[in-house]
Amino acid sequence: MIDSVILTQVFNGVILGLIYGLMAIGLTMIWSITDLPDFSQGGIYIITAYVAYWAITLFNVPYLLTIPIGALTGILLSVVFERIVYNRLRPSGVLSCLLAAIALFFLLENVANALWTPKAKIMSVPETEVSINLFGIVTSYHRIIILIVSVLLFIIIHLFIKYTKIGMAMRAVAEDREIAELMGVDTRRVYIATWALGGALTSVAAILVSPLYAVWPGMGTLPLLKALVVVILGGFGSIIGALIGGLILGLIETIGAIYVSAAYQHGFAFILLLLTLSLRPKGLFGRR
């Protein structure tokens, strides 16, 4: 019988991978459609987690309800940033936008620091308390929720991109913006939709993860970087790639942490990045 510890870790790896995948989808869409690797999503990650935390502790909102609330916050922030900051800077070039994104990330992190103090807060959610044993895997209801919610989201997004008008417009812009514009696609609406989607995904990822770990102002950096690695690994612009890439990274991290080194567990992403860039820069499913 396979050791329960390993089985649990594999399962945890899958869960973690799904979360990376969620964030990566948002990032890959923003990046492929608007040409910007959006670092400010890291900041949005932080703020929406805190908003959910507030909802739970101050207003006793049930956990599952905080997910749509957080998503709304994420959408709001993303779109606001796009309209006010990125839109203005676009003529100055991608570099300026990237630096602005970083500055926004920096800003949001410090706002969180000031508003909620740097001390980590634990999001106490009843679904995490109960430990259940499923086929030898030690887990909790919460992780099952993560599983279900992420898979649902993936399916929804896939359908959205494939079958709705806006989804098709987004794909067109991702392929070739100029031609899409010539064909009459309203890039402005596409951009807003993209950012909204990205913000929503990031926030959902943040809220799903928060009860597992803790909510603290520095929580955004590593997930952001890893999500970027997943974007590159999965292939620029590919949603399936983001999902699979996320799973790969999640599994490598959790299993590598046991067998190789727990101290360097965050270094695996880096090694994966180097491997991808040297062996297959297009990523697994990339087109460009």
Binding site: K119, A257, A263
Partner: protein, 402 residues
């Protein structure tokens, strides 16, 4: 395609106005934050400096230390400090060092050379303490650390740098026999934060347990702010120790206990927490059920005075009690007592007074001694004994020993 227009006169005017407004704004801000007294400042003020992490991952220590110091400050200024018959008030100037040695050094230099403080409180991180202690010696300004734990801070020590709480090297030998006696472990493990504090903790306990022939079978380090301990805990589970020391701050501790329970390590393996885990905050973060039955090392016992301080803290800051608050509180009282004993504002005289001082603080009996312990020389170091406690089902502390 950027706009390469030259700025018209109107734009230049706007920019100049903006700059002027910002400049005036900062000066005003500086004025109102830095200079609380009216112009024509009252002359009888004792200035003390405080450097601590207020931002960054260690920020809660500075924030809590500051809470303790502010409460002590209120009490002291309510009665006033009397030197040679004149009444003085105390002002504490605080700077953020982010738990970063370069920042700490800059902050202390500023405090000594620009703000002209006569004593320094701080800091909290051993790395910063080690960097600023030589400055205290150099400028002959006494420094009182709030809570640095590494031995090296007072061993061999600095003439002008003092520490109230026993260092890691002193706690371990005192508490190890208690643990062995009460819990009888045959193998131990460590899950510690990867910084100066965590590493010195592991080093000294490892050595002391070895003396009793209890080996360390697993040693794991995590980075400050880590939230995922499953990997470390799995490794620990595989090594099967009887006791695991977990070292960090309360949020990490809470997560460790939660995740350890999820993985089924508790209660088979006894978890003993570092001093932070002896704080009520652990209970409020993790929940009574998660914490019940686990142990911790605590630097103070729940006395009535501490309960009183705790309620003041709750009232004023709406925050839970924390040992950094206790230390900050004691530290300022100790300094002021030394100043009063010296009856002088001369830092050298204050330093002399500190050396002779005895004070019943909230943490224990404070006295700065110079001694040798197990081949190491310690200077200006306090030596009260720590406690081993266990958390009960009701979220209270139960004293196990000594």
């Amino acid at each position: 395609m950027s706009e390469k227009r030259r700025l018209g006169k109107k734009n230049i005017a706007i920019i100049i106005i903006a700059v002027v407004v910002i400049a005036i704004g900062s000066v005003l801000a500086w004025y109102f934050i830095m200079v609380p007294a009216a112009p024509g400042v009252t002359p009888r003020v004792i200035k003390i400096g405080y450097t601590a992490p207020f931002t960054g991952p260690a920020a809660e220590f500075g924030t809590n230390g500051w809470r303790g110091i502010s409460i002590a400050l209120e009490e002291i200024n309510a009665r006033g400090v009397f030197i040679k018959g004149e009444k003085y008030t105390v002002e504490v100037i605080r700077y953020d060092d982010r738990c970063e040695p370069t920042e700490g050094v800059a902050a202390v230099r500023k405090l000594i050379l620009e703000d002209k403080v006569i004593a320094i409180l701080g800091s909290h991180c051993s790395s910063v303490c080690l960097a600023i202690a030589p400055l205290c010696d150099q400028y002959k300004i006494p420094g009182l650390t709030i809570e640095c734990a590494a031995d090296a801070v007072t061993s061999p020590g600095f003439e002008y740098y003092f520490r109230m709480r026993p260092s890691m090297g002193l706690i371990a030998p005192l508490i190890t026999p208690v643990i062995i006696d009460k819990l009888k472990p045959s193998k131990i493990g460590f899950l510690a934060i990867n910084d100066d504090y965590g590493r010195s903790f592991v080093e000294s306990f490892k050595k002391n347990f070895e003396r009793y022939k209890v080996p360390t079978v697993v040693e794991q380090y995590f980075e400050r702010g880590a939230t995922d301990f499953y990997a470390y805990l799995s490794a620990i589970k595989a090594a099967k120790p009887d006791i695991v020391f977990y070292v960090g701050v309360t949020p990490e501790g809470a997560l460790i206990l939660k995740q350890a329970r999820e993985l089924g390590l508790i209660p088979e393996i006894k978890f003993i927490g570092s001093e932070e885990m002896g704080e009520y905050e652990l209970v409020s973060l993790a929940g009574k059920e998660v914490v019940a039955g686990t142990y911790a090392i605590s630097l103070w016992a729940p006395t009535p005075e501490i309960r009183e301080l705790a309620s003041k803290v709750k009232q004023k800051f709406n925050a839970p009690m924390h040992y950094a608050i206790v230390f900050g509180y004691d530290a300022l009282h100790v300094l002021v007592k030394a100043i009063e004993a010296a009856q002088s504002l001369d830092p050298v005289a204050i330093h002399d007074a500190l050396k002779k001082l005895e004070h019943k603080g909230l943490q224990g009996n404070i006295k700065f001694e110079t001694f040798e312990y197990e081949g190491k020389l310690f200077m200006n170091q306090g030596r009260y004994a720590p406690y081993l406690i266990r958390w009960t089902e009701t979220g209270e502390k139960e004293l196990i020993g000594p």
